[in-house]
């Protein structure tokens, strides 16, 4: 009965939407210029207009009805407004360990082939970038739309250091992190006083500046041609090659038959370790004074000041550390691809990474894995859909926001908990200070 009574307003709403779609479709789809023997002539396609209007009408109706159905369910969506932070969420760590275990055995799974591992590697890059950006956006609450700039700095640092000075990946990795972190500080200084929308605009500009510099500083970066022939990583000095003159290769050292898959598996484990380090770091730092200061800053800057927290140091450290992880991911990207160009670091990348963080539920580590899977993994697996791929991408985003407006996993885990006995309160509290 409830559904029926709501049907009428929904019908009206859908009719209006259908009508609007028809009006819009009329000039865009309804008329067509046809090249005929007598020159150009006008052709009419009213069926197309009708189809567009009908599609919007039914789509809107279904969406409204479905939305109602979701809303009528007991409100599980209000997870983050629950008064009690409650007992520790047992499920989440288990889920986390399952993910890690699954990721570790993946290369040995029966279905795993080169293709799957490649895709998993790509997915893990985005997970790592999401975890890195989460420090800035999720914890410190600084909306950063130019995160890809630090990824680019990391990638170019490795590519150029390795090509010009012959440094190995393992030396370049910390250097790339360092460079990216300094760029993070560089961006941090001018935007210290900004928040929210204004901060977003400036970071967006910063991201573009870095891309444009890479594109135009031809002498150093190779401009639009990018940097190619970047040194591939070696297994602690053992290259993944069939033969290497004057050097022992990986397969010779371990007495294995040569296979190009060795490198794929190695790259996969490398990014897995890098990503897990990022995760571990974030989980740990949330419990340290600096991490708590980030979260407090996100909640209320005035209060932070009056409690003696230096907002300048806090913001700069968040930018620097977030950027550092992007730098690590960037140098991994460069060594994996062997070729980088400014094209890989467009604004769209920043937008996708930000979408991963936001859809995952700001600040949630596992949420980021899930949304990276949805936003990067699924489109990769559905490449067969060709141009409809992006449609599915957009659709997934809309659905997540309808279903979980605060992100997939939005419940914030407290960093310090109350033990049951009052005398132990102080004790546990002291432990985590």
């Amino acid at each position: 009965m409830g559904t029926l009574s709501r049907l009428t307003p929904h019908l009206k709403d859908s009719l209006a939407a259908g009508l609007l779609a028809g009006l819009l479709a009329l000039p865009m789809l309804g008329f067509r210029l046809v090249d005929s023997a007598q020159g150009l002539s006008l052709d009419y396609r009213f069926t197309w207009v009708a189809i567009a209007a009908a599609t919007v009408f039914t789509g809107r109706l279904i969406l409204l009805q479905a939305g109602d159905a979701i809303r009528r369910r007991p409100s599980q969506r209000s997870a983050s407004t629950q008064p009690q932070a409650g007992r520790p969420n047992k499920l989440r760590p288990i889920l986390g360990w399952l993910f890690i275990a699954g990721a570790l055995v993946l290369p040995w799974a029966p279905l795993a082939d080169r293709n799957l591992l490649d895709k998993a590697t790509l997915l893990l890059i985005y997970v790592m970038l999401g975890w890195g950006l989460n420090v800035v956006v999720g914890l410190a609450g600084l909306l950063d739309l130019g995160y890809v700039a630090f990824y680019a700095v990391g990638a170019y640092s490795y590519a150029l250091l390795s090509q010009n000075f012959g440094l190995s990946f393992w030396i370049c990795l910390p250097l790339a992190g360092l460079f990216s972190a300094s760029f993070g500080m560089l961006l941090g200084f001018p935007v210290l006083r900004l928040r929210g929308d204004y901060l977003a605009i400036v970071t967006l500009g910063f991201g573009e500046i870095v891309r444009v510099v890479l594109l135009n500083w031809q002498v150093v970066t190779g401009g639009p041609n990018g940097v190619s022939g970047i040194q591939r990583p070696s297994f602690f000095g053992l290259p993944f090659l069939a033969t290497a003159p004057g050097k022992t290769t990986f397969h010779e050292f371990f007495g294995l038959p040569f296979s190009p898959d060795h490198r794929i598996v190695f790259l996969y484990y490398l990014i897995l370790v890098l990503a897990l380090v990022t995760n571990l770091f974030t989980l740990r730092i949330r419990r340290l004074p600096i991490g708590r200061a980030w979260e407090a800053l996100r909640e209320d800057e005035t209060a932070c000041r009056s409690l003696g927290i230096d907002p300048t140091k806090t913001k700069l450290s968040a930018f620097a550390i977030g950027a550092m992880f992007a730098g690590f991911a960037g140098s991994f990207f460069a060594t994996r691809q062997g070729f980088i160009s400014p094209e890989s670091f467009s604004f769209l990348e920043s937008a996708i990474i930000l979408a991963i963080v936001v859809l995952g539920g700001l600040g949630s580590q596992i949420g980021i894995v899930l949304s990276a899977f949805l936003l990067v993994g699924l489109p990769e697996w559905f490449r067969d859909l060709q141009q409809y791929r992006m449609l599915a991408f957009g659709g997934a985003m809309v659905l997540i926001m309808l279903w979980r407006p605060r992100g997939l996993l939005s419940n914030r885990e407290p960093t310090i908990r109350l033990a049951s006995a009052p005398s132990r309160v102080a004790q546990t509290a002291e432990d985590s200070v």
Partner: protein, 247 residues
Amino acid sequence: MMLSIRQLQSGYGRIQALHGIDMDIEAGEIITLIGANGAGKTTLLMTLCGKPRASSGQVFFDGEDITHLPTHEIVRRGIAHAPEGRHIFPRMTVLENLQMGAVVTPPKYFADDLERILALFPRLHERLDQRGGTLSGGEQQMLAIGRALMSRPRLLMLDEPSLGLAPLVVRQIFQIIREINRDQKVTVFLVEQNAFHALKLAHRAHVMVNGKITLSGTGEALLADPAVRAAYLEGGNVAFDRTERRA
């Protein structure tokens, strides 16, 4: 003298809010500042905390000139500020909020301080695991005061702790402020609109009108003062403001 304010002027851009304030706070007392909306009470507290910056004049804390120190440095000297509107961290639990109050103190004090503050606010003890944003107004105010106390201040500055609270809760809060001052030897600088309670609590009090101190005296003296009674206790503040402007 714990805090001395000398000819302090401050404001927002071209709008001057404080026109030369002189005030002294002795260790161990409760000083109250009352005044109407827009008199400059909050601006005075915030200027003492370094934001907005004083345009002229000086502030001394224990003889040290703190006028130009950044806010977080001022707090580290032993001044805690519970800002107007409470400003608790809504998504963090009560315990985490209290923990944030202790960022400037060495960790070894944390357990004792926490126990002391939970004894002062038993309500907070019951709600340690609850998110700050879901507390009632009175509980949030208790949390804001408790959090400020976690920094082991010698001077506690409270900006309208009674704002938006029911009369019964207001009385409770003022009772706790008295305890903090008496038992924990914390000097209190209280800014209030609720003149009756604030003056009853205060050892000494000042009245502020349009960015100037117009009346000073003991709490009881001001409570008995006809001008104060007319302006802040028995009806609106219209009459008082008018006489001041003419003068």
